[in-house]
């Protein structure tokens, strides 16, 4: 039973990760791409790790994956803030939608 629930979590996480990668290709500029990579991929990776914890239970692997979730939630936004602030300091213009072309 726990294997089925864990596999469902892993599949949901893979869907979020793939959508984040598609967003990285489709979106137009650096700020939008940072949003796609940080939001979707953080949630997707946390879901995969939670699935691993549900399958394995309180063994070595499961507890390590819980620790990974905590560290990922703390560090991923910090990295995204550093990248976006660097892009802002080096004067990269944000993309805006043109009504005529869209």
């Amino acid at each position: 039973m726990s294997e089925i629930i864990g596999t469902i979590f892993i599949v949901i996480g893979l869907v979020f990760d793939i959508a984040g990668c598609i967003g990285l290709i489709r979106l137009p500029d650096v700020y939008n791409r940072l949003q796609a990579t940080t939001k979707s991929i953080t949630l997707g990776t946390c879901s995969i790790l939670l699935g691993a914890f549900i399958i394995k239970g309180f063994t070595g692997i499961g507890v390590k994956s819980l620790l990974c979730i905590m560290l990922l939630l703390l560090t991923a936004p910090a990295a995204a803030h550093a990248l976006s602030r660097a892009a802002d300091i080096s004067k990269i213009k944000a993309w805006e939608k043109k009504d005529a072309l869209s």
Partner: protein, 163 residues
């Protein structure tokens, strides 16, 4: 000294979680390693730490379901936008007011905005009362009303904890 003790407890806990099946030998080596780490980083963490009241931790725990639900809603919405054939995003850089004053409150606000709203915090004004956000869905009519209302909603939760 409080900083050193807190860092020692945190690094020892991480060591024990990495070595999960608890036993006494690993715990002894963990004490040694945590002590060495505190000794090596004594020049880095010199800012003195203030242990908040217990209300802070309870308040943070009470905020988790709200932020988790927001994170889920935003991510599903964002993914539907990404996979839509016309890519319906209207990004813009907006400037919103904030009323949080402390550094840790602003840090939590920026991180939670990153993870569970439609924006990304680019910079904080030097007077600590304005946030520069890159928001993904600004309608041409309303300037920053959506961003401001979300930031107000998050602030109301965080103000109970950090002020």
């Amino acid at each position: 000294m409080k900083t050193k003790i807190t860092l020692f407890i945190i690094s020892f806990m991480i060591w024990m979680l990495l070595d999960w099946p608890l036993d006494i030998q690993h715990a002894l080596i963990g004490l040694l390693v945590a002590g060495v780490v505190i000794f090596l980083t004594r020049d880095i963490f010199t800012q003195s730490l203030r242990w908040g009241p217990i209300r802070t931790f309870l308040g943070l725990g009470a905020c988790i379901p709200f932020f988790f639900w927001e994170c889920l809603k935003t991510n599903v919405d964002f993914i539907l936008r990404l996979l839509h054939p016309k890519l319906p995003v209207n990004p813009a850089i907006v400037k919103v007011k904030t009323t949080l004053k402390t550094d840790i409150g602003l840090t939590f606000l920026a991180n939670l905005l990153m993870l569970s709203s439609r924006g990304i915090c680019i910079d904080i004004a030097p007077e600590k009362d304005m946030l520069y956000l890159h928001w993904i869905d600004i309608k041409p009519g309303d300037h920053q009303a959506a961003a401001q209302s979300t930031v107000d909603k998050f602030e109301k939760k965080l103000k109970m904890v950090f002020d």
